[in-house]
Subunit: 338 residues, 2 copies
Amino acid sequence: MTPVNLKSLAEELKMSIATVSRALRDSHEVSEATKARVRALAAARHYEPNAYASSLRRNISKTIGVVIPKVANHFFALAINGIEEAARQAGYHVLIYLTHDDYAREVAIVQHLKGGRIDGLLMSVASGTEDFAHIKSLQDTNLPIVFFDRVCAEVATAKVTTNDYESGYQATEHLVQAGCQRIAHLLISNNLSIGQFRQQGYLDALRAHGLPADPDLVLNGVMDNEQNLVLIRELLQRRPDIDGIFASVERLAISTYHVCRELGRRIPEDIKIIGFSNLESASLLDPPLSTITQPAYDIGREAAKILLRAVEKKKPILPGQSIVLDSTLFERRSTAGR
Amino acid sequence: MTPVNLKSLAEELKMSIATVSRALRDSHEVSEATKARVRALAAARHYEPNAYASSLRRNISKTIGVVIPKVANHFFALAINGIEEAARQAGYHVLIYLTHDDYAREVAIVQHLKGGRIDGLLMSVASGTEDFAHIKSLQDTNLPIVFFDRVCAEVATAKVTTNDYESGYQATEHLVQAGCQRIAHLLISNNLSIGQFRQQGYLDALRAHGLPADPDLVLNGVMDNEQNLVLIRELLQRRPDIDGIFASVERLAISTYHVCRELGRRIPEDIKIIGFSNLESASLLDPPLSTITQPAYDIGREAAKILLRAVEKKKPILPGQSIVLDSTLFERRSTAGR
DNA sequence: TTTATTTACGTAAACGTTTGCAGCAAATCG
DNA sequence: CGATTTGCTGCAAACGTTTACGTAAATAAA
């Protein structure tokens, strides 16, 4: 089967390649009559322009990259959903890369992206990432970057986040008002900025309500879920006075449920739990889990919009374009008052 | 900043572009000495080959496409995870497209992919798709395609699925053995082949255990979740004799939980439920949900492997390469016997 | 020594598209 | 009526890479 490209169309129409190209791009330099002829044949032959030739020539790929830690996670899945929606509307394609929260993988991926494959990048950094040279170096190639959720403070660009400090404060206050006196905070990898904000909200809420801030009650989770089960079990056994748990990460809330079941701690009678989560089934858990839920879809969509706007206008992205969206606290039985 | 490409490297090294290119591709036509020099400079300049120029020239993009209905769904999220893993290992990139189970979108996406942007396609068809001309037409361009989970029988290629018939049979039998006499089957869009297989397994299991097959007990769900709640409520009210539910789709199982809660039906005392699901938190639901769980990650990975093997060897994919993986039945309290 | 073979590199033509420039007719203006 | 503009089209050069082919020198074979 002879390939269908500008050349073959031009030959069949007995005009030059240039005219065919212009006609298809709806250039004003082409008469309506020839445009119609060209379009008709292009449609008949199911012509699709070669994306790579076009990208090479125009130095524009109509593709954005998304680098995230994982996809099997409601938050990121919803975010991708929003990103894909915004990209599709703008006629962009979406390349996806998973770091699995591994610094080395993140570096390799970012380096690879310098090949000019994408016009812009959306990123949520790996929890293990402490050095940002790879990202800065990518930005130096004039590639627009927008961070979402797990942002990187050292890189000057727009960030789309949620009100993590306030959410941490609210969650803690919610537990206090439900009657908790000893509230633990479970978070992951405190070098992530969001973890720090939530932790600060937690601390300030404790202080505001006259509760002591006990470092022993702050647990830094790890990547491995089995290990987290052990850590949480140790914590609950070492400190039987804990009567409230604020989990900054969905996984840790789930793990806490498992440990409580194992140890025979009743939720919410013995211990109350609230966690960051985008679980659809939170209300069906036993007991229904109180959550702080981030607007994940909107985060993805807004981040993509900012990025695409910059890409289209070829303007640099300024930190001033950052957006902070509000999370929502859903009160359910896991924090029911006495 | 002057661009770093083969030309600039060649100039600096005072050799031809061809030699630089060959050196970087480790061609045997280049001496080790010059290879070393080239590699050193390339590394120093952080050279990354232009992906589009390379793709254009070699007619190979090192990119595969993934077209799925949605991503905010455990099954597909895990599948993507497997796909990305296999792709990364083989040095491939992953473009993602969501159809939202919309036929028109699927057609548009597939048509768009004819631009030569990808070397191969992984696909799980939209539930609304009944005509497969768009897919066949894409396959006619010699693009290798592998289906997974929601396959398309009309297109001759490899498919990666689970043992849906057996799973439907087992799930139904499991309910029978737990004491159910009137078992309903909730599925979505019966034109999907997987739905048909599961339905057949359901019917055969009923017959094998001497239970009548009542068409009134088979509910075809729709896209809209709110609407499904209404349908399920109607069914349970119209047929109070229903004492078992086999949900072919995770969402329908969740909706059933909500309806049961609303109607005051106790699970598992009044009604037992088992559903296809990849919910990590199934065991934490109230009550824990018995599930048939598909090996989603493996499905994605195996599908990607088949595809990539064909892409690399430039060989067509034969239906004979299809794989059927086994799902696992997890027995939990929602189907506890009397 | 002559001839064949190997090694290492350069030349230049592709891949399909976009676009500055030129050309050429018809239309408009001075 | 000549000069200029306007509308449409073609020519050809890019974009950065890969690779068939050519070639010169070095080595091996005769």
